[in-house]
């Protein structure tokens, strides 16, 4: 499956965080790789949105919608 990148989640991030996030730099907790959220690897058409590290593919950010409420998991960030 073709992956996308974090740019595809710009709208969702803006909805959840109330601010532009794709230009924010994040560091992967697993491998230490640092990049803008816009550069992360995103798999389309999953239930929920997952942004993964472009270097080691570890999960960085997971956003799922449960009964209309967005749940944000950022445990993959250093």
């Amino acid at each position: 499956m073709d992956t996308l990148d974090g740019n595809a989640l710009a709208g969702l991030f803006a909805e959840v965080f109330g601010a532009e996030m794709t230009n924010v730099t994040v560091t992967c907790r697993t491998c230490g790789f640092t990049a803008a959220i816009g550069e992360t690897v995103v798999y389309p058409r999953l239930p929920g949105a997952v942004a993964r590290c472009r270097n080691c593919t570890a999960m960085l950010i997971v956003i799922t919608k449960v009964r209309g409420v967005n749940c944000v998991d950022m445990l993959g960030l250093a």
Partner: protein
């Protein structure tokens, strides 16, 4: 335009189709009248939401094709088996309404004050946000030097051909056709590879700012090739879209 980027809740709103332009047999530009549009930056996109009669919704993100200050427009390519793009490219008429939200994105964005030179590399409909950047460069009176490399399947698949030709004396544009080339073709043939990048890209010591947009595999090849040429990864901005129509 950065002054317009104040904190503002991102809401879905209804836009009306003001004009449609056929760009290629499978690509159409849709100009939208958006009552509460806060302004955008070159390279940003917007989300479109379609709702079926049974309540099923589909959302897609499209690059904004127009420069800041111009009417909002998107350029959409019809994807085989797409859920949204066949409707946007074939069914939608002037006066129809669409739900959208935006602008969104701040990573793949160019400002006239960004230090250059500029290298713009597009695969297929990846030219759309780069067109917004070229228009913004012209509107802002910027004289930052530009090199454009645009890869298409065939000559009729080249989007914005006349408009891009109008920059002939101003920017250095290179085209490559991957599938078929006309008999009198003087551009490049075949997919973008390291050799082609080495030929048309700025030398790395010029510290170019690069925007690469296209299908995922195209962007990966180009980004790797540029880093191999000595480009700083932080100065190579990338945006990928999937053949699945996720973007």
């Amino acid at each position: 335009m950065e002054g317009t980027a104040v904190q503002r809740r991102l809401i879905w709103q209804v836009a009306t189709v003001a004009a449609v332009t056929r760009e290629t047999p499978s690509v159409r530009t849709i100009e939208l009248s958006v009552p509460d549009w806060p302004g955008h930056r070159a390279g940003q996109h917007l989300d479109v939401r379609l709702t079926a009669e049974d309540g099923y919704t589909a959302e897609r993100s499209y690059s904004i094709a127009s420069a800041p200050g111009e009417p909002v427009s998107i350029t959409v390519e019809r994807l085989k088996d797409g859920e949204v793009s066949p409707y946007l490219t074939e069914e939608l008429r002037v006066g129809d309404q669409l739900e959208l939200r935006g602008p969104v994105g701040g990573y793949f964005v160019w400002e006239a004050t960004d230090p250059g030179p500029l290298l713009l590399i597009a695969g297929g409909s990846g030219i759309v946000p780069l067109r917004a950047i070229l228009r913004q460069r012209r509107r802002s009176g910027s004289d930052v030097p530009v090199r454009l490399l645009y890869s298409s399947r065939t000559l009729p698949d080249v989007i914005y051909r006349d408009e891009l030709d109008s920059y002939r004396d101003d920017i250095s544009a290179s085209y490559t056709l991957t599938r078929t080339q006309p008999p009198d073709w003087t551009g490049y043939a075949g997919r973008v590879n390291s050799a082609l990048l080495a030929e048309v890209a700025w030398p790395a010591h010029k510290e170019p700012l690069t925007f690469v947009c296209g299908p995922t595999s195209f962007v990966e090849t180009v980004a790797e090739g540029l880093v191999h040429l000595g480009y700083q990864p932080g100065r190579v901005k990338t945006e990928r879209f999937g053949a699945s129509g996720g973007r």
